[in-house]
Structures are given as structure tokens and as C-alpha cells.
Amino acid sequence: MTSASVDESTRLAMYRDMVRARDFEQRAYDLFLEGVVQGTTHLGLGQEAVAAGFAAAMRPTDMTFCTYRGHNHTLLRGAPMPALMGELAGRKTGICGGKGGSMHLTDVPNHAMGSYAIVGAHLPIAVGAAWAGVLRGTDQVSVCFFGDGATNIGAFHEAVNLAAVWKVPVVFVCENNLYMEYTPIGDVIAVEHPAADRASAYGLESIIVDGNDVEAVHDIAVETIERARRGEGPSLVEAKTYRHKGHSRADPGKYRPDDEVAAWLERDPLTISRRRLEADGVAGDTIDAIEAESMIEVDSATEATRNAPPPDPATLMTEVWADGGSEWRN
């Protein structure tokens, strides 16, 4: 199915976004194994269509709030790739100066308002930011991404309820990848659809979208974001998707049945999108060029990161307070 509402340039832009996110994260994985990327990573490989479909539907001033699995969201709001890679590798060039790491990618100039590593914590924060936009008349919408597992935590319920009673312009997007770490949703969630089946508890419509179909995601993103902007309140979207790799680091994801993994790999969002573009007459060369450009960008970010110095030791004690320092006494 080809969405009537998405023009070709948007579809190509979304494809480009997905390819960039894919290549960036695949490289992050390789660099983790190599020891260049430090600590941990939680890759969104396989989940790119959710990030790309929403990013394409947002205005530059709309705000993104995401989780530790947020490389793709932050990148697709416009964060410079070398600065993201630098942050993963703990370099001075990192977007947070090396103080955040993989789980805290933030790019305020592009309204990527943070990656949050405590499950569910960012939902109320996204609500508050959107509410501030209403009071200040900025016409902004918050889009808040989280996992299926986050629907079991109190902050999810507190935030969705508050957003609903205050009619705040926020779109909550549950990326249901069927697992939370190593636990399948059926073991720990009382309903089949973690977000959609709970929507009615807050007077919201139950919305499920194929999270591997970027155009379907884009359609629902346009609809829910515009609804929010019109002052009609929040939406809760459940995007069904799947991660291609394990939960984090080098997790091989062996707890997932082989046939399930194979079926989802068949439904790779990039393959779906590329096939559709080709079927609609986009030249293979055009698509190949997008892919080649992405690889050049990733290679260059990798090179920059390899050559980047570690953070300046003096920055250890900076930016606790707004005066730039960390003093707690006179």
C-alpha cells in the first residue's frame, strides 16, 4: 500500500533517514565490538521506520523525548552524526562532551530533548514541556517514544492521564518490539497490546500501526501531531516493530525463537520501503546514491571519532550549575 498523502520527496527523505540510522547504528555496533564505543549501546536496528516516519512529520521546533534506545531518534531530528558517534565513544567531540554517553544523547538546538535511561521517566517530562509550549504560545508538540515495557511503570500512567486531563499536545509512541530486555511481553503484560489496550483507560483512542512501514507511521504521525497542535489533546500510538539485534551491547538475543526472528527480518523496514519506491518507479540509481552517501557520512563520522581526543579533564567539574561550575560552598 502506498500512502496517498506522502509525496515522493518525503518518501525518499524518509528512506534516506532510515538508511542513515541503520548505517550509523550498525557502525556503532562494530565499534563497540572493537572497543572504540564505550560502556553500552541499545540499538534501534529494525525500528528505524518509527523514528523516520515521525521525524518527517514534525516541525523543527517540535520536541522529541526518547529512551536509551534513542540513537535513531536523535540523529533523525538533525543531530550531527560525528557528535553522536563522538558521544558513544566518550570523546571531547561528543554531543554532550562525553558526559552523557550512549543512553543520554541530547541535542537541544534540534529539539531532541533527551534520551532517558530510567524506563518511563521521560513521559511526564514530555508532558510538561508540551504544556509549557501551550502557555507560551509556541505551537509546539512533544513526541515521546518509549518501549512496551514502559507501559508497566507508574510514570506512564501518571503522564498519560495528566496529558489527557490537561489536553496537552503530546504524542506518546510506544515502540512495541515485543520484548523488554529478555522477557517477552506476554509473560508480564496483562493485555495483548501494551499501549493500545490501555488507551481507553485515559479516554484515548486505541491506535496500532505497523511500525515497520514508514509510510503508515508517517500517516499516523501527521494525524496525531496535527490533532495535538489543534488543541485536541494527546494521542497514544502503538507501533509494532522488532529489534534486529539483542537488547544491548553484544547480546545475541538467543531468547527469541528463530522463526520469529526470521519472519521479522523478512519485514525489514528498509527492504519494504526500497521495494515500494522501486515499484513506484523510483530509479534504482537514485536509491543506490542515497545508500552510498549514507556510508560516506558514517565513514567520515567514524574517522572523526577515531581521531578525536578524550574529554578535557577540566570538564569533570563543569556544568553542574548554570554558572558552568560545580561549587556547593563558599
Binding site: M63, G94, I95, C96, G97, G98, K99, G100, H104, T106, D107, V108, M113, G114, Y116, I118, A121, H122, L123, P124, I125, A126, V127, G128, A129, A130, W131, A132, G133, L135, R136, T138, Q140, S142, G154, A155, E158, A159, N161, L162, V165, W166, T315, T318, E319, V320, W321, A322, D323, G324, S326, E327, W328, R329, N330
Partner: protein, 323 residues
């Protein structure tokens, strides 16, 4: 000059700042038309309207999370937690999110916000509505911590907290809500990080905070009658900490007593003690004494609660036992 209660000073301090800056907003449970369960926000809803003074669901994570988000996007919000004990229900947002976000993002995010909360015992409320938890907040890098003891300080420090570009936890003491003081008309603006000498003295320094300040002052009166001159310092803010006033006082008196309502272990007096031992040791003429609530949950019954919370008699006895 008019006589003002500590309770009314809270509303006056907030009103002063809301009047000055349209970006200042207040949210919390029952803070709007009801005026707050302690009547500390009376009149604000009528004066500033439902956009700026808002009731919330009983959702502490959502209240404090929402003020964080609002601060990220241009407001200077004040969030009320009805009781400071409830900090435990939203501690993730306070300690992991609000306190750390500026640092973790390399300075990208500013969080000018105030968390106001009713702290402390003396009202027979029992272990979940009477704790003094100022030391919890003090233990987290990235939070400023304020605990005024007088109506005038409530206004001035509220103004300083709202104007501060950093997150501030503002502890209002329940036992003090009815306390009165002559307070001048007009704007009052103080600054964070400045202790006040409430009673000058030369023989011993007694350091106190919030409701413990009057306990220390009463002790000083009793001690004076027996010829001991006690200097009472009201810290007013724990972060930033005015160590200058403290160390200067100890250099004159040679003796230090802390009077803390928080339970003993890792109470703020332990940090004060450590600073004075490290930096003022050669001025000391006697071991430092900490008078604290014992390391127990707070009991409800009047007789037990009164035994638990430091009294002026305990402070007097502690000073008299010193060499």
C-alpha cells in the same frame, strides 16, 4: 510593617514572583482553589488564574516530571509536593533526572525550577508525614537546598529560589506555618548560600536549620542565664553551604553543636562536622556535639515524638556537658 505568618509568607513570596515574571507557574495537589492543604497557596488561583495555578492528579512523578519539562521549555515552574515524605515517590525524577540533566547533557539543558514541600515533625502525623528529609536532597549533586526559619526568609529565599537558574528544593517547615513576624511591605529578595547569625555569642556556636533555629535560640537564652554565651547560626540553605560564616564563628567560640531534625546517620550536621574538623580543627577547644533526631522512624504519639525531636533542653545539656 504588618504581622505575617510563615504560612502566608509562602503565598506572598510566590505571588511576588508570579507578579514579576509571567513564566512563573505553580502546580500541585489542591494548590489552586483550595489554597493548599496547609493554606500556603491561598489567593494565588484567584489572582493568577487557572493557567498559572493548577491542580494536578495525585501523581507525584507527573507533577515533578512536568515541572522539569516545563523548565526545559521556557517556564520557571514551582511544583508543590504536599509532604516532603512524598519525595520518595518521585525520587527518580528529582535525583536522576532533574539533578543530573544539565551535567549529563554537557550544559545543554537549564532547569530553573522550584520543588516546594512541607517538611518536618511536631504535628503528631507519624512516620510518613513528619520526616525531616533535607539531608536526602543535600546528598544529591545538582540540587540546591533551602529551608527557611522565618516568614521574612520564606519570602526572600522563595524569590531567590525562583530566580535561581538551577533546580531548588524548598523545604517549608510544618511546625512553623503559624509562626508570626513583622515583615515590611514591598519586594523582598534574598540570596541562596548565606547563613545568618540569629544570636551573637562567644562561647559556643550552635548551628541549626528551620524549626531547630528556635530550639537553638531558646537554648541560648537558658545558657545565657548560666553565663554561657551561645552564638546561634541559622544555615538557611544547605546547598550552597555558607562555610565561611560557620568557620569564622567556630574560630571565635572554639565549640560547635549542630541541632538537626533529620535522623542521625548522614544528617547535614555530619557534613558540617567534617568540614569544621578538616578546616577548623585548631580552633576547637572541645569535641563537636551533634544533637539529632535518633536514627528511628518518627513516632506519632505526642510523648514519643517530643522525645525524638531535639529540644532546647537537649541542646542546653549538650553544651553544658562540653569541656
Amino acid at each position: 510593617m504588618a504581622e505575617l505568618t510563615y504560612r502566608a509568607a509562602v503565598a506572598r513570596g510566590i505571588a511576588q514572583e508570579m507578579e514579576r515574571d509571567p513564566n512563573v507557574v505553580l502546580i500541585g495537589e489542591d494548590v489552586a482553589a483550595a489554597g493548599g492543604v496547609f493554606k500556603t497557596t491561598e489567593g494565588l488561583f484567584e489572582r493568577f488564574g487557572p493557567n498559572r495555578v493548577r491542580d494536578t492528579p495525585i501523581s507525584e512523578e507527573a507533577i515533578i516530571g512536568a515541572i522539569m519539562g516545563a523548565a526545559m521549555n521556557g517556564l520557571r515552574p514551582i511544583g508543590e509536593l504536599m509532604f516532603s515524605d512524598f519525595l520518595a515517590t518521585c525520587w527518580d525524577i528529582v535525583a536522576n533526572q532533574i539533578a543530573k540533566t544539565r551535567y549529563m547533557t554537557g550544559g545543554q539543558v537549564a532547569l530553573p525550577l522550584v520543588i516546594r514541600t512541607a517538611n518536618g515533625g511536631g504535628n503528631r502525623f507519624g512516620g510518613q508525614h513528619a520526616q525531616s528529609v533535607e539531608n536526602w536532597a543535600m546528598a544529591v549533586p545538582g540540587l540546591k537546598v533551602v529551608a527557611p526559619s522565618t516568614p521574612s526568609d520564606v519570602i526572600g529565599l522563595m524569590a531567590a529560589a525562583v530566580r535561581d537558574p538551577n533546580p531548588v528544593v524548598f523545604f517549608e517547615h510544618k511546625k512553623l506555618f503559624a509562626a508570626k513576624q513583622e515583615v515590611p511591605e514591598g519586594e523582598i529578595v534574598d540570596r541562596l548560600g548565606a547563613a545568618t547569625i540569629r544570636n551573637p555569642g562567644s562561647d559556643v556556636t550552635i548551628v541549626a536549620l528551620a524549626a531547630m533555629v528556635s530550639v537553638a535560640e531558646e537554648a541560648a537564652v537558658v545558657l545565657a542565664a548560666s553565663g554561657v554565651s551561645a552564638e546561634v547560626i541559622d544555615l538557611r540553605t544547605l546547598v550552597p553551604l555558607d562555610t565561611k560564616t560557620l568557620l569564622e564563628s567556630v574560630s571565635r567560640t572554639g565549640r560547635l553543636v549542630t541541632v538537626e531534625e533529620n535522623p542521625r546517620l548522614c544528617g547535614w550536621g555530619a557534613e558540617i562536622t567534617s568540614i569544621v574538623v578538616e578546616e577548623g580543627f585548631w580552633h576547637l577547644d572541645a569535641p563537636i556535639v551533634r544533637v539529632t533526631t535518633p536514627h528511628i522512624p518518627l513516632p506519632a504519639a505526642a510523648e514519643l515524638e517530643d522525645l525524638a525531636i531535639p529540644s532546647s533542653e537537649q541542646v542546653v545539656a549538650a553544651v553544658q556537658r562540653m569541656e
